[in-house]
């Protein structure tokens, strides 16, 4: 059994339970879990499935850097972020952002900030595989 990694890029299906267990401490009154889920449409066009690719050696450390940015802005506790790569069927979870904090406002704000920053700088790419058989990188 390998040790829990709070910032992880993985091909395995994502489960929020270990992330929640990792971040929660007795001084936290709030734990926010955000799940980004593969959706069956984009811009009115039907999606068959998604695939994600990462610069894995860099993406894990960037997720940790983003969490540290959030901690510099809000009084939050522990953070865990897992991002999946490979093929994802509709309804599967692509990313989990879990933030603990003494109070809920900071936990909500930090989780939203972390997700926005992932979409700005984390070297992880999404490929949309359309139902009509075409595919394209979302850039």
């Amino acid at each position: 059994m390998s040790q829990f990694q709070p910032f992880l890029i993985t091909e395995a299906p994502l489960d929020p339970a270990p992330l929640v267990a990792f971040v929660q401490t007795p001084s936290d009154g709030a734990v926010v879990t955000f799940a980004g889920v593969a959706r069956n449409h984009f811009g009115g066009r039907a999606t068959a499935y998604l695939s994600y690719e990462a610069y894995a050696e860099m993406a894990g450390p960037v997720l940790q850097q983003i969490a540290e940015e959030a901690r510099a802005r809000w009084p939050i506790g522990k953070v865990a972020v897992h991002h999946r790569v490979g093929r994802l069927e509709i309804g599967e979870t692509a990313v989990l952002v879990v933030v603990a904090a003494p109070h809920r406002q900071e936990a909500f704000q930090a989780a939203a900030y972390i997700m926005d920053r992932i979409k700005e700088i984390a070297p992880i790419w999404k490929r949309e595989h359309w139902a009509d058989g075409e595919a394209e990188w979302r850039e």
Partner: protein
Amino acid sequence: MITVRVRFFAGHRDIVGRAEIDIMQEEGATVGSLWEQLTAEHPRLAGYTGRLLYAVNQEFATPATELRDGDEVAFIPPVSGGRGAAGGQEP
């Protein structure tokens, strides 16, 4: 001369046709000068100029970052259908 390894991802890899290449550069070459050379060799890459991020040895870099022998350089196309790379490393 120095040799650096260049990593390509997503749309960049589709254009270049390789996930990585080793390329020789003059002493004093920078991330920016290497990108200019690559866009000359692969004109479709030029559409990404100004909306990509740069990394050297897995850390964010800038076009001015000078390359050293053995560096791993990554040109990071816009990520995850997000808001784009215009914000750079800081919000």
